[in-house]
């Protein structure tokens, strides 16, 4: 079965505008503009079961439906391409090969939502992706697929790039909105939710790159087709899994939702590196809990992974082998989150460095039995924060204490890292 996201990809270069169109690109836009109302487009996305690919996995059609229909003034769509979650690099790979699915997907989303002006918020460091998008936007405009009078209609849609200057918190949707407005990118309190009051106080939808890039195929082929791409009834569509760590071929691969963890590692990535044994993995970027060897046959869809005690998240699969110390791995993750905390609220600003200090002590053989209790308390209390950064940071720590407590204790008892 042909999966939608990478189907236009060339091995070593970006697909051209003409190639994309020859392969059916922008046909979904024509279909929508010639016979579907905005509500039809929204309903098709709702029926397709598409869930947000940025990490939270919220139903995209539902998110769109929260935008009030009758509020006066402009409304906005933002594509979140701030991708700074360690282990996650799918947006970069997607846009370096094909910017057009996103451009077409955003145009369709704008049509469905009644948006005239949309932004692509793109992180610093993704210059190639930004250049591809800038060129693609111009090509689409020249071809009458974007800008004024799209496909001869009365609809006008503008896409603008916003290049950021690098900060993980900008991926949080309300912080991203502040960043776009040129304010300090701290998260905003919710409610009001962005769908009602977001960018410049107008109704705003923030979607991930992969989410929006799926929309053309959904409109072109229908909701049932998209649902049918998944390997199990719980899922819908395909998913970009970006695999890193201890596998032979580290790659970003498109697979049906519901592909098992083992099939991702063994099938798509050639198995474990250097014949090492699989110890654990983080399945969805830095803010998810560990999966273990017993999860080898686990279908990777949002609900099944959640039932197994983790999250599908962004699909950033980071694989650890028997030689990796998971205390040190967790310390690395906490170090990242502590450094990237915006400092707005105290539990995150003070709590994360403290957790880092304790884990450093344990890793260096100076840990005490009480430290495990203190860490558990932090897992509990760092959930009470302004945004999801600190709770996200606590996910791997929670997983470490839940699944690898023996390894943590061994550090404390032996007064050294047992793997060094």
């Amino acid at each position: 079965m042909e999966l939608p996201l990478f189907r236009h990809n060339r091995p070593d270069r970006v697909v051209t505008f003409d190639e994309y169109r020859e392969e059916g690109g922008f046909e979904a836009l024509k279909k929508a503009f010639s016979g579907m109302s905005p509500d039809d487009v929204q309903q098709t996305v709702m029926d397709s079961g598409l869930r947000g690919r940025g990490g939270a996995g919220f139903a995209t059609g539902r998110k769109w439906s929260f935008v009030p229909r009758d509020l006066p003034g402009p409304r906005w769509l933002i594509c979140n391409c701030d991708e700074m979650e360690p282990g996650t690099y799918k947006d970069r790979v997607l846009l370096e090969h094909n910017p057009y699915s996103l451009i077409e997907g955003m145009t369709l989303a704008c049509y469905a939502l009644g948006v005239r002006h949309a932004f692509i918020f793109i992180r610093k460091g993704y210059e190639q992706a930004a250049a591809n998008l800038a060129r693609g936007i111009e090509e689409a405009k020249k071809a009458g697929l974007l800008g004024e009078h799209i496909l001869g209609s009365e609809h006008a849609i503008e896409l603008d790039l916003h290049l950021s200057a690098g900060r993980y918190i900008c991926g949080e949707e309300t912080a991203l909105i502040n960043a776009l407005e040129g304010k300090r990118p701290n998260p905003r309190s919710k409610p009001p939710f962005p769908a009602v009051k977001g960018l410049w106080q107008g109704p705003t939808v923030v979607n991930n790159v992969e989410t929006l890039a799926n929309v053309p195929a959904i409109i072109a082929n229908g909701a049932a087709w998209f649902k049918g791409l998944a390997l199990n009834p719980e899922g819908a569509g395909s998913k970009l899994f970006c695999v890193s760590g201890s596998v032979k071929n580290r790659a970003c691969v498109e697979l049906p939702i519901g592909t098992t963890l083992g099939d991702i590692i063994d099938g798509a990535c050639g198995g474990m590196r250097d014949g090492k044994k699989f110890k654990a993995c983080i399945p969805g970027g830095a803010s998810t809990q560990f999966l273990k060897p017993e999860h080898w046959t686990l279908p990777m869809d949002y609900d099944t992974v959640a039932k197994a005690g983790s999250r599908l998240g962004s699909g950033g699969v980071i694989v650890f082998d028997e030689g990796h110390c998971l205390v040190e791995a967790t310390l690395n993750l906490i170090n990242f989150f502590a450094r990237e905390s915006c400092g707005w609220c105290t539990p995150c600003r003070e709590g994360l460095p403290y957790v880092k200090e304790i884990l450093t002590r344990i890793e260096n053989g100076r840990g005490e039995e009480d430290d495990i209790t203190i860490l558990r308390e932090h897992v509990k209390y760092l959930n009470y924060t302004f945004c999801a950064l600190a709770p996200g940071a606590m996910a791997p720590l929670d997983g470490l204490l839940r699944d690898f407590e023996d390894e943590v204790r061994e550090h404390i008892v032996k007064k050294r890292c047992p793997l060094k």
Binding site: P86, G125, R167, E181, G182, R184, A329, N332, L333
Partner: protein
């Protein structure tokens, strides 16, 4: 003081923004490119262009990873120390860079060419360990490859 041509182009960028401060990051980045880092003078100039106070520019400037409020070398090396690069033994690469350049993290080489800064994920986890030099990304680093990259980057301006 910035040249008139740069001032005109920045004023045009601000005028095309939905609100002036929407252009804040672009203005700071352009000024940084001009001065090499975001100097105090640049903060003041950005404030005038954006209709903000210098303090409001400062709170933005100090927030972002890629805006430098202290002098940096001609090329900044951002070396990734996130989890995927850790799995690929980035610690060895970071130590190698420190030894080779004779600086600690945050330091600038004596000849003023390179500044070494750790960074969070660069989105190159499939090609880890990774770094960028003057904005150019490099992956699958080995000490030998680091030598070649530094030499090439040193020689091409």
């Amino acid at each position: 003081m910035i040249p008139e041509t740069l001032k005109t182009s920045l004023e045009a960028r601000v005028a095309s923004a939905i609100t002036p401060r929407e252009a804040a990051v672009d203005v700071m980045k352009e000024l940084q490119t001009h001065y090499g880092w975001l100097t105090d003078e640049a903060v003041g100039e950005a404030a005038v262009l954006l209709g903000l106070s210098p303090l409001q520019v400062e709170e933005l400037a100090t927030f972002y990873e890629m805006i430098y409020r202290r002098p940096v070398g001609k090329k900044v090396i951002h070396v990734c120390d996130s989890i995927s690069c850790w799995c690929a033994d980035c610690d060895t690469i970071i130590q190698y860079l420190k030894d080779k350049l004779g600086v600690g993290l945050g330091g600038t080489t004596a000849d003023g060419v390179f500044t070494l800064i750790p960074c969070c994920c660069m989105g190159m986890c499939g090609d880890s360990p990774a770094m960028s030099v003057g904005g150019v990304p490099y992956g699958k680093l080995t000490p030998e490859l680091v030598d070649k990259i530094l030499e090439a980057e040193r020689n091409n301006g």
